[in-house]
Amino acid sequence: MFENDYTINGIHATHLKYLVNDAKVFTRYIDVYMIAAILGFLHGRSEKKDNTSQDRARIYADAFATERLNCDFIYRLIMILDGTTELSTQQRLDRAFRDDSQKESELTKVVHTQNMDLFNSYVFGGIEELFEQFTNGATSRDDYINKIYDVAVKFKEKMEETDYESKLKKLVHSN
């Protein structure tokens, strides 16, 4: 996996290109690809491949080669944690660590394709999340940067589980 060119279609391609070329929030398509996978999964958002327009964006094989280790890592993370199927613990580990390394039998080829489809569906969902969160209402460079910082701060607070209880109390008793 992650050995060949990969083409993204339709509205997702449009948004991917927007994020890199217009808003200039990300440097390369591959950067968006990786972060979209994470964000899509974090928010439980998966989308089907989109065919409503002829727009396309291609990520080349050498981009994947540069980021191969990271892509493998993210793939494994999602394959371990995704709970939308009926697989057991052992089956999930197999899916994450074993299914990709042998492509001989037809059965594993089919299974591997299914896994990649699941992975990419989170990528599509993540692209939509990125587009909505980072660009909604923003028009200038300054706006985008403020939005990025805002998203990062809010996420950090959530991670550190900043005291939500006292924040709530304050809201109730203030003017």
Binding site: V25, I80, F97, D142
Partner: protein, 666 residues
């Protein structure tokens, strides 16, 4: 805050210039304004609202937007201009503030029109001489720190309006706003109930049945309405483009005029220097933006992946995995060694020998035979990412702060540059052109921003149309959706019940306190056997004991007024506490500031009994009192209250459109 004086020019029926000075002396702190109803009392109260907050409340039928005196308006001809102005001088925390709002009216062929108003504010510490101006953008904030708008109608109380039943709703809403309950109230309304279809719960509930059909219909409606919006945007963009062209032409004309005007050499120099500094700093800003984005692109996915990495470690801990492989060794590595025929240690590998078998068995611990190796690599990777994560956010934050610092510098220099530009044109006539140019530039900026917003909105519409088209084309399985919705409903109901409980507690607590205050004040004025009780709609009823029951008893005109007065005074006390608490949040000195009370006199000649007590209670209720009194009532009350009065005025209604306010000696 204490009122010092009020200057009115041509505001509604007050034609010409009128100045009222208010009594502030500790012993004589009452100002009375004599006059019957309809003489101009409501208008006087509205001068405060207009000057401080730019709103007025006049009857719909009385042409509320026309503030200029009607007699003057009817006399206007082509070219004539009149000014409406209200200027308030007040004292707050040992500083004297002057606030002036003025609006120019001029005659066009069809009607008299008002131009945009001009608002100025300046201050000087008590006892000193120099006035300091306050910058335009800070004036509203300053005013709201002295007397917040949402509390102002308790200090300037129009009793006549409140007596009208339809306005009781206003009082109850204002009191809720005063007590900070509106947000909770709105949240409850929005959450609603299962049966109210336009509320959160109603929507969740109704979305469970016929989900797909309803969603599809909704999506179709959205597509249609969005397309309509696109058409409307296109129209507005056209009109905007034309306007922008006109204004650009005007700007060019004014620029030309100004260039030819006289300028001061040194200011010019500073202006150029600032331009250079700003341009340098703007470049630096671009750099900061790039650095920020660089930082961002460097470590983002590991930052967001952190919670997932933690979960994955937990998951793998629970699953039993063998860990016996050698790091980074793969099945391919083994195959290569075997092909080579020699082991890493140098020994020859002969097929079938013990060494050969040993190497082959190593395959058991490598993918694809065993996944333990991959898992080890994976866990190591997580540890590496965790280390980089620690610095990611700190670096991002510091780059962001760089950006803020640079932006502030640019803003300060820009402000100075704008000021200088205004000063450079020193001559009277140049000032006018310079002002005009500022207006035109501001308008151009507005128009261009509007244009950008429309363009973006149009793009957004395109995105929306795509999105809803997709929804419309797909129909989701209903049953799995229903499961999630049931959960949403449970959470929403839990939140609603918590908010309801909190609201009730808060509201009850405050209504109790209000009732306490009102009764405290009431009992000082009225020595009978009644007590004031406040219901859920903030109506005040007087109760008296008959036998062992408390019943509402009839009230005389005088007693009614005393009751209203006690209610207002109680509200004002709570409002003052609120202001002090707000000030506390802004870390301003918490000392108790005095506030004025402007209202109808709470006595009448009908109830002689209370007037004496009221005059004693007044100084406890407010440090400065401004009262409207009818002549017939004052003739009586004078004997008892006159020693408190420091300033006397009289409203005289000449015609329906002309009243005067002048000092009175009575």
């Amino acid at each position: 805050m204490l009122m010092k004086s009020l200057y009115i020019k041509n505001f509604r029926q007050f034609k010409g210039e009128t100045t009222v000075e208010f009594a502030r002396d500790k012993e004589k702190n009452v100002t009375i304004i004599l006059g019957d109803n309809t003489y101009g009392k409501t208008t006087l109260l509205q001068t405060f609202n207009w000057c401080l907050y730019d709103f007025v409340v006049f009857d719909k039928d009385s042409n509320p937007d026309m503030l200029l005196n009607l007699e003057l308006a009817s006399q206007m001809k082509y070219g004539s201009r009149d000014i409406v102005e209200v200027k308030i001088v007040l004292i707050h925390k040992n500083t004297e503030y002057t606030i002036s709002r003025a609006q120019e009216y001029f005659w066009t062929e069809h009607e008299v029109r008002g131009e945009k108003f001009k608002l100025t504010m300046s201050y000087k510490p008590l006892g000193s001489d120099g006035q300091t101006d306050i910058r335009g953008q800070y004036i509203d904030k300053m005013i709201n720190e002295i007397l917040p708008r949402n509390l102002s109608n308790f200090f300037f109380f129009d009793t006549e309006r409140v007596r009208d039943v339809s306005n009781r709703q206003d009082v109850s809403e204002s009191v809720k706003g005063l007590l900070g309950l509106t947000a909770l109230d709105n949240a409850m309304k929005h959450l609603g109930s299962k049966t109210a279809r336009t509320t959160v719960l109603g929507k969740f509930y109704s979305s469970m049945d016929n989900e797909s059909n309803q969603k599809a219909t909704e999506a179709l409606e959205r597509i249609n309405s969005t397309q309509q919006r696109k058409a409307s945007i296109a129209e507005q963009l056209e009109s905007l483009k034309t306007q922008i062209i006109d204004y650009e032409a005007e700007k060019a004309r004014l620029d030309h005029i100004l260039v030819e005007g006289k300028s001061t050499a040194s200011l010019q120099e500073r202006s150029l220097a600032l331009e250079r500094m700003i341009s340098r700093e703007t470049d630096a800003l671009e750099q900061s933006y790039s650095k920020f984005l660089q930082e961002f692109n460097g470590g983002t996915f590991t930052f967001f992946a952190k919670p997932l990495m933690i979960q994955a470690l937990g998951f793998m801990k629970d699953a039993k995995v063998d860990d016996k492989g050698i790091k980074d060794m793969t099945a391919q590595s083994i195959a290569d060694i075997i092909k080579r025929g020699t082991c890493v240690c140098g020994k020859e590998l002969v097929e079938g020998s013990a060494d050969y078998e040993t190497i082959l068995s190593e395959l058991n611990f490598l993918p694809p035979q065993s996944i333990g190796t991959s898992i080890r690599n994976f866990k190591d990777k997580i540890a590496t990412y965790d280390a980089t994560n620690r610095h990611y956010f700190i670096n991002l934050k510091s780059r962001y702060e760089d950006i803020l610092r640079t932006k502030t510098k640019i803003q300060e220099w820009q402000d100075e540059a704008d000021e200088i530009k205004g000063k450079i044109e020193g001559k009277e006539d140049m000032k006018k052109y310079s002002l005009k140019l500022s207006d035109v530039k501001a308008r151009l900026k507005e128009l261009n921003e509007k244009k950008e917003r429309f363009i973006r909105e149009d793009e957004g519409c395109n995105y929306d149309i795509d999105r809803f088209q997709k929804v419309y084309d797909s129909l989701l399985a209903v049953s799995s959706k229903n499961k999630s919705i049931i959960t949403y409903i449970r959470y929403a109901e839990e939140i609603l019940s918590w908010i309801t409980k909190t609201y009730k507690e808060k509201e009850f607590d405050i209504r109790e306190r209000l009732e306490e205050r009102v009764n405290e004040i009431f009992s000082k004025i009225y020595h009978g056997h009644r007590r004031a009780s406040i219901d859920g709609k903030y109506n005040v009823t007087l109760l008296t004991m008959v036998g062992d029951k408390e019943i509402a008893s009839g009230e005389s005109e005088g007693l009614n007024r005393v009751k209203n007065f006690a209610f207002i005074a109680g509200l004002v006390e709570l409002a003052k506490e609120k202001i002090i608490a707000i000030a506390g949040e802004n870390k301003i000195d918490l000392s108790s500031e005095p506030y004025p009370l402007v209202m109808d006199a709470p006595f009448s000649n009908a109830d002689a009994l209370h007037t004496t007590n009221i005059s004693k209670v007044l100084p406890e209720v407010a440090e400065q009192v401004i009262m409207f009194v009818m002549e017939k009532d004052w003739l009586y009350a004078k004997q008892v209250m006159d020693y408190r009065v420091g300033s006397r005025w009289m409203l005289d209604k000449k015609t329906d459109t002309y009243s005067i306010l002048k000092r009175s000696d009575s």
